[in-house]
Symmetry: C2
Subunit: 143 residues, 2 copies
Amino acid sequence: MFSKTFGYALRATAYVAIHGKNGKKVGLQEISQSLDIPHHFLGKIMQDMVRHGLLDSIKGPSGGFFANERTMDTPLVEILKITDGSLVFDQCALNIKRCNAANPCPLHHEFAQCRNGMLHSLAEKNIGQMAAEVEAGESYLAR
Amino acid sequence: MFSKTFGYALRATAYVAIHGKNGKKVGLQEISQSLDIPHHFLGKIMQDMVRHGLLDSIKGPSGGFFANERTMDTPLVEILKITDGSLVFDQCALNIKRCNAANPCPLHHEFAQCRNGMLHSLAEKNIGQMAAEVEAGESYLAR
DNA sequence: ATATAAAAGGAGTTAAAACTCTTTTTATTG
DNA sequence: CAATAAAAAGAGTTTTAACTCCTTTTATAT
């Protein structure tokens, strides 16, 4: 349903939201080790997050990634759009072209319900809430 | 969420369920053209369906695929197991190892609900019902 | 200023899924 | 029994996502 890249992006962004606030910076090394994500691949993904303004970064010694004013308010679905594009939102479970409510494939309604529920969750929850959950020990970013 | 192969397998099996009963046989050519699925690739997939006993086939001139006593009663989830393996049933949306209700990722509950709903539908509905829907014009296998 | 450590960027490789081509087997029909 | 038409099988190729490596830029600290 979602790419691995999305999972990496989401977890890493949440990690920075937790550990990279109040002037603290987090390095790629730390993130990739803590979350068990390939170092260089994560580099690319983080670039993208910064480019889209979801996080900030600074180069040089003692540089790294850190949360900015947008980070906490970013709905998870924003990250999905960046990593997986907007095609996710309307492609058919059976890959039929022009499958829609009027011309449905045999799984259209079931799948629409399933996916829309999921997308709703991703639109409602933001990085700040997700980070808070993790900090409260209610859910985990790794292992 | 599901592979393209699953979509091809499901649609083709339903097609045979509709057009390959009462002694009638359906050829690969016809299926792949009607459903716009690559001919040879579909060949492989159909082999698998036959191997698993979901359909029967016969070689030679006027050979082809046809429904057997199991075809109609096969729940859709059977086909999913064949094409995508059983991993689909418990892998985490964020690809975290050992994500479960006790140790959930931040999307575990939302995703479990979404996926379980979908799997429930696939377990409840069988090929016969799906074929009937299509024959009644309630849903479509192509276009 | 220079060395250094970090992210950014470019360009490549690998792995898996999707798809193709060719040959073999087998049933049918003339 | 020969020709044919279909599925089965084997072995490739292509495409895409996932991942790696190397170089460049830039901020920091000495």
